[in-house]
């Protein structure tokens, strides 16, 4: 099928399949799936600026459905999510402007491609290492599987920083934390969302769990709540800059709808560290796809 806005021909069944896969991820892992959808779109031949914008558009719709489901399960910390949105919006706008600069310089593909690869490999390695540690803790220390986080030192240190104003998040079990830490996490993930075309969940999830110390199930729901706003704002700002093919996003979303149903239901059957271990190898798929396109497209020799 020819997509006139992006000026590219892509098999719609392939796009629906990508949507289906990231729909499962969105519901199950609490991430938008952009870290996988973006590289897959790039691999099929979609220009990088349209990958970034269209991926955000497709995630907006998918995330609103998944967030509704997690809200019904009581997995969304609205207070935390609302504060993070403030930081996220600023980051998204800065990221979108960064894309425009790279587009005009003609270095968009190589820069964004390499940043994708570095981030995806790092996230994969860190998440695998942490979740294996946490699973071992469950076995040896007999702690509750939902409380097992193999990397609690950072979150305790972050929560002990007394940089005013301080704020509490009872739903997430946080008695006191500096608001700047929350805004900082929001800004960083917004920057990634705006510049890579991802919801930011693959970086926000680890930051929420390991840095802020949020329980995994609340992190999943709150992350999806955040993605609705970060990707919604990203869609608008990228569409105005001519980087969104809405038709492509609509086609992808048809697959995502049924995938989200499966993914959200599946979270009830698997506990914290196992979710994170299953998540850990997925970013590598995205990294390989980006590398293949960069080599195949002659960007890397």
């Amino acid at each position: 099928m020819y997509f006139p806005i992006a000026d590219v021909t892509v098999n719609p069944l392939l796009l629906m399949g990508v949507g289906f896969l990231v729909g499962i991820l969105g519901g199950f892992f609490g991430v938008g799936g952009g870290f996988l959808a973006g590289p897959m779109m790039f691999w099929t031949g979609v220009p990088m600026n349209f990958v970034v914008g269209t991926d955000l558009a497709h995630m907006t719709g998918k995330s609103i459905v998944a967030a509704r489901r997690h809200r019904a399960l009581g997995h969304v910390d609205f207070k935390l999510g609302s504060f993070m949105i403030l930081g996220t919006v600023g980051g998204v706008e800065l990221g979108a402007r960064f894309i425009e600069v790279l587009k005009h310089k003609g270095t968009l593909d190589i820069t964004v491609g390499l940043v994708y690869i570095v981030i995806l490999v790092s996230i994969s390695a860190f998440t695998a290492w942490e979740s294996i540690r946490a699973i071992q803790m469950v076995r040896t220390d007999q702690i509750d599987v939902n409380d097992a986080v193999g990397f609690t030192g950072i979150s305790k240190r972050i929560q002990s920083v007394k940089l005013r104003p301080m704020i509490s998040f009872p739903v997430s079990g946080i008695e006191s934390i500096s608001i700047w830490m929350v805004l900082g996490v929001g800004f960083l993930t917004g920057l990634l969302a705006g510049s890579l075309g991802v919801g930011g969940g693959f970086i926000r999830m680890p930051l929420l769990v390991y840095v802020l110390g949020i329980p995994t199930h609340v992190a999943v729901g709150t992350d999806l709540f955040e993605i609705v706003f970060s990707s919604g704002y990203g869609t608008i700002t990228h569409a105005i800059k001519g980087n969104v093919d809405i038709l492509m996003a609509l086609v992808m979303q048809t697959g995502a709808a049924i995938g989200a149903q499966i993914g959200a239901t599946a979270t009830r059957f698997f506990a914290g560290p196992r979710i994170r271990l299953a998540f850990s190898f997925l970013p590598l798929i995205g990294a390989v796809l980006v590398l293949m396109r960069l080599i195949g497209g002659g960007v890397l020799h």
């Binding site: 099928m1 020819y2 997509f3 006139p4 806005i5 719609p12 629906m16 558009a57 497709h58 907006t60 719709g61 998918k62 609103i64 459905v65 509704r68 919604g232 869609t235 608008i236 569409a239 105005i240 800059k241 001519g242 969104v244 809405i246 038709l247 996003a249 609509l250 086609v251 979303q253 048809t254 697959g255 709808a257 049924i258 989200a260 149903q261 499966i262 239901t265 599946a266 009830r268 059957f269 698997f270």
Partner: protein, 93 residues
């Protein structure tokens, strides 16, 4: 909860996916395939209008598809025998 044969459960999951696929193919041929030219025309004339119409379409489609998939699972009673039951069986192993 009564346990079911995993083969039956997988069969029911496939039924769900096949029914949904038929609905989506029809929707693609009737709606999505025909709005490409209209969207391209708006994209060429006014990017602000395109941005907000695009976001509206994405949100509307997401909500409608969610209602369709939920109703499909609820009224065809597939949710009792399909995905959820499959997960029940495999998580108890």
């Amino acid at each position: 909860m009564k346990r079911m044969d995993p083969r039956k459960l997988l069969r029911n999951l496939l039924i769900e996916v096949v029914i949904y696929s038929f609905l989506i193919v029809a929707y693609y041929l009737l709606v999505l395939h025909s709005i490409g030219g209209w969207l391209a025309a708006i994209f060429g004339s006014n990017l602000y209008q395109y941005a907000f119409i695009g976001l509206g379409l994405i949100l509307a489609q997401a909500v409608i598809l969610d209602i369709v998939t939920s109703l499909m699972m609820k009224y065809i009673k597939l949710d009792q025998f399909g995905i959820r039951r499959i997960l029940d069986v495999f998580s108890n192993r």
